[in-house]
Chain length 339, copies 2
């Protein structure tokens, strides 16, 4: 069996640390790992696979020593600068940022849905947006069965998706609420334009000319690319909620074909990476607190939309840091190792 040399770029971030956890759990055939981060984080020590790793500064020479795979989770600017360098040195890059996702030469892959796309890569594979990954796991088999006609997304997104500073904003808000007696205990926001504690912010990523956020546009475009339906009508409203981890999604689907609700449930039951939690008698449905730490995506509240000839409503919850980022990226590397 081949043994590979793997780089993790952005190893100290929220997603980077979870990538290390998932790599530990998967135990891939790897001979050597190297952990990279920015200058600020270089020198940090991370425990990984029962060894202490010293995080190295990412430089233009980082890939000279010959890596087989690199998982980037360091934002779009770093990816744009360093992924091509890595590829030039013979390394295959799985990138978590949005930098290459809509590039027609770059496969955008959720292995359970479209791992065949990996065959066409030219050195870079893009990991989709977290909200998109958990949605398409559920949508792809339904699209296969009944051909989707239109999708309406409304999201309930956790602060972990905004990194450490997003988590800090929620933690500081909780502390202020709990300890505040005189109302003068203001804290400085690190990430969001408004307090996320006790609030819902209909604003994720930047606003675009057309009134949508980049997050909403990503969900629309990436869903189309992954489902291979470039003109599929989709709309989205993305909202940040005061939850630490796991995105929730209210998904409304219109189908071309007529369906039976029990058949749709069977379709979802056999969907890889998807767990059904939908037992109303026992008050069971997917919850962020329960899905946190899971690699699978959970679906519940599965019910016909009576406002359409052939419509379906779903409530989908996924760990945005695991399956929405780290787990999916590691799965892509795992698939590439098998090829």
């Amino acid at each position: 069996m081949n043994k590979y040399k793997v780089a993790v770029v952005g190893a100290t971030g929220v997603v980077g640390r979870t990538i290390l956890k998932v790599l530990e759990e998967k135990n891939l055939p790897v001979s050597e790992y190297c952990l990279f981060a920015s200058k600020n984080s270089a020198g940090n020590k991370l425990k990984f696979n029962n060894k202490e790793y010293i995080v190295q500064e990412l430089t233009e020479n980082s890939f000279d020593s010959g890596f087989d795979f690199a998982i980037f989770s360091a934002g779009g600017d770093i990816a744009k600068k360093f992924a091509p360098i890595a590829v030039e040195r013979g390394c295959v890059v799985v990138d978590n940022s949005s930098a290459f996702r809509m590039d027609k030469d770059v496969p955008l892959v959720v292995p359970e849905v479209n791992k065949d796309e990996l065959k066409n890569h030219k050195g870079i594979i893009a990991n989709p947006n977290c909200s998109t990954i958990q949605a398409v796991l559920v949508l792809a088999p339904l699209n296969e069965a009944y051909k989707i006609k239109r999708i309406v997304y409304s999201t309930y997104q956790a602060v972990s998706g905004a990194g450490k500073k997003g988590i800090l904003d929620l933690e500081n808000g909780i502390k202020q609420y709990y300890s505040n007696t005189d109302g003068n205990n203001e804290y400085e926001l690190q990430k969001f334009p408004y307090p996320i504690f006790n609030n819902c912010l209909p604003h994720i990523d930047v606003f675009l000319e057309n009134g949508y956020t980049k997050e909403e546009e990503k969900m629309i475009n990436e869903t189309r690319k992954i489902l291979g339906r470039s003109k599929l009508p989709i709309t989205a409203t993305a909202v940040r909620v005061p939850v630490f981890n796991c995105h929730g999604e209210s998904i409304n689907i219109e189908f071309n074909d007529i369906y039976e609700i029990n058949d749709a449930i069977e379709v979802l039951k056999s969907a890889p990476g998807v767990v059904i939690k939908d037992d109303l008698e026992n008050i069971e449905y997917p919850l962020p607190t329960e899905v946190s730490g899971q690699n699978d995506v959970y679906v519940g509240r599965i019910r016909r939309d009576f406002s359409l000839k052939s419509g379906l409503n779903l409530w989908v919850v996924g760990d945005n840091i695991r399956k929405g980022a780290a787990t999916n990226a590691v799965q892509i590397v795992e698939e590439l190792m098998k090829m």
Copy 2:
């Protein structure tokens, strides 16, 4: 000018106390107020209009002394038992519960939308569900202008809608998170089946046979009744979020008629009870923390839904205890006093 005698039933609850605040602010032509509650709360003292009121126990004889109006906010069972008694004694009842809302003899009124319905009352007027009130304020003028073809609701609902025990569940969750060091600091849930802190519960009110919750069904049926569109296609997903006060709603609308986005904004600008907060350049949109305490409903993220020939997406936030309950009920009484 006539002076009226007014009863407030359920005066000690979350909505009841806010009804007293709104009545203070409105200064209606009232000669006498009486505050009623259950046996448990009777004897409590409430400060109201700079006077101390002793809360009286609600009994079958409570309405014998001749009231002109009663605002009930004490749940469906109390309303079903006592509202007919009050009406028999010549009192007009505005009821906040769902007990009479879908009764064809009972007007379901949001004054800015359909106050003419008040002319047809037979003693009882129903105050709509909180989520419905804030939605129809925005939907009614758009329906008038472009005829709505279909609505998809996804809600982000605050714990105050579940009363004191709902608020307590969120407070206890915050306290536990803040103070917990050993993980053994469990608190007992008062209202929700799962912790609402750090969570989203796709479950408001009870589950029905068809897989929907009663809250979702209320939104569908009450929207139809208030808009006078008994067969309007509507679907809904109602979710509880960890926010103390103010419901958010992602509303997706399909119109029959073609529209221009600037015209739709003008329609909303002239909608009574509605405030537009939608300035993306200055990062302004409706937020629960900012709308809390307001009587108006706020709308933002107004943008065309490009997945339809004529579609629109909105983000609507309303204070579910004020306009969603107390303010609307008091406005109904105010309108009745003018008739």
